[in-house]
């Protein structure tokens, strides 16, 4: 299994006048499934975005997987709370292929390899039968699985998922949790999510840890 950890030394993160992290110091192992909780508006999404270097923190040292966010993000996959509504008419497989080596310059000449890789990702998230359907025709749960396949495209050590259960019914909750377990066992990928409601994690085949963002700190 891949190891993952997060550490903060005197980190402050502010958005406008709101203080999300206030000189926070903590060390968190992220192996398995880590659930970040906090009340609405506590700034969970901002913390995730800071971990990916999208939002800069104002002071202190933040290390994810032993590196600063702008380095560590290349070993992370990210799924936003609201799936991007782009090109709904294009087939699912094209959406996944676009994420494979997407940050590299130039034209890909080995599209067959890319296609096989994308198909493997879709199989990993149990979405292979959807490969040739237009993205816009999928349900919320199906769309979630495609976003997960996209997040897995660069073979990450850590998946960072913002409210992955927000748009799902109870049955889909359980299916997604099982998928997390499967991804951890098969690919060794660790998962950090934000969540609101209760989750049935007792039977999952991976270590589960809950942490809370409150009063400018993350509490274990």
């Amino acid at each position: 299994m891949k190891e993952a950890h997060l550490s903060a030394q005197d980190v402050s993160l502010r958005i406008g006048s709101q203080s999300i992290l206030n000189h926070a110091t903590f060390a968190l192992p992220l192996t398995g499934l880590t659930i970040l909780r906090g009340h609405n508006g506590a700034g969970k999404t901002c913390v995730l975005r800071a971990l990916l270097g999208i939002l800069p923190h104002q002071s202190g040292t933040l290390l994810l997987l032993g590196h600063p966010p702008d380095v560590a993000r290349h070993q992370c996959g990210y799924m936003p709370q609201k799936a991007d509504q782009t090109a709904p008419m294009l087939p699912v497989i094209s959406h996944v292929m676009a994420c494979l080596n997407g940050a590299r310059w130039g034209f890909p000449f080995s599209s067959k390899t890319t296609r096989h890789h994308a198909e493997a990702l879709l199989r990993d998230v149990n979405a292979f039968p959807l490969a040739h359907r237009p993205l816009g025709c999928l349900s919320g749960g199906e769309r979630q699985r495609i976003a997960l396949a996209q997040a897995l495209a660069n073979n990450p050590k850590l998946l960072i998922l913002d409210e992955p259960f927000a748009a799902l019914d109870a049955q889909s909750h359980q299916a997604l949790l099982q998928l997390f377990g499967q991804l951890y066992q098969q690919r060794g990928v660790n998962i950090l999510i934000t969540a609101h409601g209760p989750l049935e994690t007792a039977s999952l085949p991976l270590p589960v840890r809950e942490v809370t963002l409150a009063r400018g700190h993350i509490h274990g």
């Binding site: 993000r73 090109a87 294009l90 959406h95 994420c99 130039g106």
Partner: protein, 270 residues
Amino acid sequence: MVEPSFLAFSFMQHAFIGCFLVSLLAGSLGWCLLLRRQAFAAHALPHIGFSGAAAAVWLHISPLWGMIATSMLGGVFMGHEGRSKHHPAQRDMMTGLILAASLGIGVLCLHEANGASSQATTLLFGDVLGLDLPSLGILALLTLLCLGGLALLWRPLLFISMAPSLAQAQGLSASRLGQLFLLLAALASAACAEIAGALLCFSLMIGPAAVSLKLGLSPFKGILCSIFGALLLSWGGLILSWYSDIPLPFWISLGGVGLYALASFLKRSL
């Protein structure tokens, strides 16, 4: 006596080569513009270019250079607006205002150049039959430049257009990529306007691209289909225009609508 084929005339040969080059540009860049939901940019850029072309006429230099210069300025402006935090509706409104002002400036320049009616018609509706070898050389250069640039940007552009949140999380800059792409689109629209004119360049860039997106083709097939569609419109338009004596832009604009209607019908019947 047998009437000579249209290909026997050098101006028609030039027109076919020009249409081929422009179809490569319109098909590929147009597809990307639609994918990125920037159809309005495809409409606005050649109109903005019109003012530069008209100014070039006034200054007695080639209208194509003026078209390229102001289209690229327009591209930089739109790219800058894309970087700001404005709501897309406000961004479109500002682009629309610049577009309207450009048309006004273009009319003034043509008026000052004392050649308003004929020059305006040429700039607004294109002059494919007036293409000479130097113009074809410039078109070929523009085509190479745009397609080379697009090939270089291809993977990150596709990534940021189809999965923007993930791409940003991997360190790609949506604004920088968007600005670079709009510069390419500006160059391409200046080249397309040479054939179809500022007013109908939109048909050539957006019509075939809309067809391939409607058919739900993957990016590579979609761009090929879009290029083929643009070629069908421009070459088909040239041939029809030769036999019917109706201007090419008429056939391009109607053909674009016809192709889209056909794609919708096919999609529904499949």
